[in-house]
Subunit: 466 residues, 2 copies
């Protein structure tokens, strides 16, 4: 002890840099330890979940199943047929929500879908319909589906069916409408409804014919290539879209459809860099569904938002949603829009981050910085930070800029709780008011409450010691 | 001086690290300066070219014209029509060469082309024809064209016509045949000839119809996007190919061609990741042609190889070739092939490096490392090294991994001579023997002699002082 005071002091500083900065300014020797406090109030739950003897093996199994999942596009079908939706039933993104609590973009999308289905002539009349209970709302996730942004799926829309050949499990997602004034961003103008009618009348049936004649399209293989070609499969799906078009095109051309219809469809898909998103999402859901329902596993299997709440589901706690108020993304805005026009976070597309893509794979897509803000360096730093809260590196989705290291995949609730690092999501931003459409793109995280709540439920599920 | 000896020594070491390593090992303070000796024997010529009063302004003009060039795909035509080739006339890659000195892959390609043109029935008979002078050989570059690998163009082959809208200048390149057993790698089997016949009978005319109906395709815009999507436009043209297909497809579908022909063409293009190379090359040639013929300019405007010699052309010295023996690429080999099977460097495709793409843009395409050898880190280092010998950063071709810095473009003969740093080319590797085809892909540089010879000619062109 006497000796300690005589020696030159070597200060080790954990967490915030204030002390370290002050000591450094006085020429002291300082080593900084990267440490952050856990989420507030989780200590007891964290201790009991971490001590759960099932956890190690359960998470290993969850990760193994997630990484083994493969996604094939096997069919394109009307939602009525694929998902059993009947008149007046609408799916939406995120955890459950009622009309009175629904966000602007979700309301706008339901209004447009009600007009598409012929329940109302004027979309503005849909509100009254909803208020008297003639419209049923249900999360996409509850029917093995996912939907970007508002995520509204109604019976006459067509959906991709994606299947894991090893298990036969299928997931579904609507067809992507393009950017700007589109239903999933809450717009419901006649142009929006007209496009959706064409998608149901021509695009869906043509893609069905092409997929059935071509045979299954390997969505996982396309995802693996995309990540080496600047896409992160959430807000950049450029090469994915091009590869899908390449694969289906010969079968589209030789289908019985008129060449003008084939040309229109090819131009529509080719003109929409986001078209593949609606295949990336169900592929990610397939992988995360494979990791579901393992007692004791603390892996997040879904993150989804409805514009009001952000919800997560965890492998060890079944289909229970753990929610908190959705945050509002910060980002870059289109035209005259600004932060004040932004809806809180919305969409099932955070399933990509749940599976290690999107914000988690931003190092593979530095050009995303020009869309959502930040720099190539910050994109790299984001991916590197996500390794802190994930259990695995995906062997198929490798990042050239990190010398082919796999993306960080498999978010562990205990790692989030212990480090306070929240999953990084990149996202489109919908206008706050129904009818607006897209206003920008940016970055957002889940609310910490969702993870605290999940941790409590996991703690309650730990078997009592005998 | 006395004081100097009393103080702690601080050693500054330039160039090789031997002295610095030894001094460091003795705990001396060492600063290393990154310095390399100039090319051997160039000191006098270098001094006189560097002192040329025209040089600064001439190079600025050359760079300005190079960077301002834009390339549009405006037509697809038979080579007889576009290049005025007549029976028995063959273009080839690289500087001029005669049959007796021609490399294996160049001979193989001429043999196949002679069969394609009906000059011989058996390709093996073409040698005798060439030996008695019935075949005329001329570099592609002498007819505003470029050709990958052997680069053989014969009258009945179809070529892309690429035009700079500001100047009306056009350049040309054959259609890409795919990989493996193909004419440009020196193969001439019946399969090779059959494919070429289909390309002349169906693919060329169909693409002509599509381009004429679609209107000009902006090749420069595709190049700019590719570089942000993992392509370096020499040995990775994946996204470029997909974008071209996307752009032309609707016009292909609505063309008068049969749907089976359209489907075949779409599958052929979509199945060949290198298809866009043959548009990247003439686009790069357009840019470099714009920088030609400026007295006093020391910018390299062409690098090309014929499997025997490597030649360069320089802005200030017209169409004169400066050559040295082509080196043999080092790289990764297909199947059972190895380094001993490799032909010396061949092809006009080094026009991509001349314009700042290919090896110069490898930082944009780290996945190339898996094709040509090396790592993501070495790809980054290669691009960074090329800034040492170039005059500009291309504002349209920006590298996400370098935070959107432009690719190094505009090789300056004096910078190469002074630093001894040779341009880095990445390349396919042809089999040494005629008829083999591709054996691998790898890395190569020009022979230093080509730059020494160019520097001497530039020195001789410096106006005498009055």
């Amino acid at each position: 002890m006497t000796d300690l005071l005589r020696r030159e002091p070597h200060i080790i500083s954990a967490g915030l840099g204030l002390l370290a900065d002050a000591a450094t300014a006085q020429a002291a020797r300082v080593s900084r330890v990267d440490w952050a406090p856990p989420l507030p109030g989780v200590e007891a739950a964290l201790a009991s979940v971490v001590a759960d003897p099932r956890r190690g093996a359960a998470n290993r199994l969850a990760v193994e199943r997630m990484l083994a999942a493969r996604a094939l596009l096997v069919d394109v079908l009307p939602a009525s047929q694929a998902l059993g939706l009947t008149a007046g039933e609408f799916l939406h993104a995120g955890p459950p929500v009622t009309w009175d609590l629904a966000s602007g973009p979700l309301r706008g999308a339901i209004m447009g879908a009600a007009a598409l289905e012929g329940l109302v002539t004027d979309p503005e009349a849909a509100g009254a319909l909803a208020e008297r209970g003639s419209i049923t709302l249900e999360p996409c996730h509850s029917r093995s589906a996912v939907g970007p942004m508002a995520g509204v799926v109604s019976p006459s829309m067509w959906v991709f069916a994606v299947e894991d050949p090893a298990t036969g499990h299928r997931t579904y997602c609507s067809l992507n409408e393009g950017l700007g004034t589109v239903l999933r961003y809450g717009a419901y103008s006649p142009e929006v409804i007209g496009r959706l009618r064409w998608m149901s009348a021509v695009l869906g049936p043509l893609l069905q014919a092409a997929v059935r004649s071509h045979g299954p399209v390997d969505v996982t293989a396309i995802l693996a290539q995309m990540v080496q070609m600047g896409d992160e499969a959430h807000n950049r799906n450029r090469t994915g879209t091009l590869m899908l078009l390449r694969d289906l095109l010969p079968s589209m051309v030789t289908s019985p459809f008129r060449s003008s219809q084939v040309a229109d469809a090819a131009a529509f898909i080719g003109g929409n860099d986001h078209f593949f998103l609606n295949l990336a999402m169900p592929a990610c859901k397939l992988a995360m569904d494979a990791a579901r329902d393992i007692p004791g596993a603390t892996v997040v299997v879904a993150m989804a938002r409805n514009g009001t709440d952000f919800g997560i589901q965890v492998s060890g706690t079944g289909t229970q949603w753990f929610t908190g108020p959705a945050l509002t993304p910060q980002g870059l805005f289109l035209g005259g829009y600004g932060q004040q026009d932004a809806s809180p976070d919305i969409g099932d597309s955070a399933i990509t981050e749940t599976a290690g893509l999107g914000g988690f794979a931003m190092a593979a897509a530095p050009a995303i910085a020009r869309l959502v803000g930040g720099s190539a360096a910050s994109a790299l730093a984001t991916t590197q930070r996500m390794y802190e809260i994930t259990l695995a590196e995906h062997p198929l989705f490798v990042i050239p800029a990190l010398d082919f290291r796999g993306v960080p995949a498999g978010i562990d609730v205990t790692l989030v709780a212990r480090t306070g690092i929240l999953p990084q999501i990149n996202t489109g931003i919908a206008g706050r008011l129904a009818g607006t459409g897209q206003v920008g793109a940016g970055l957002v995280t889940p609310p910490a409450e969702a993870f605290s709540a999940a941790l409590s439920a996991l703690a309650n599920s730990v078997p009592a010691r005998r």
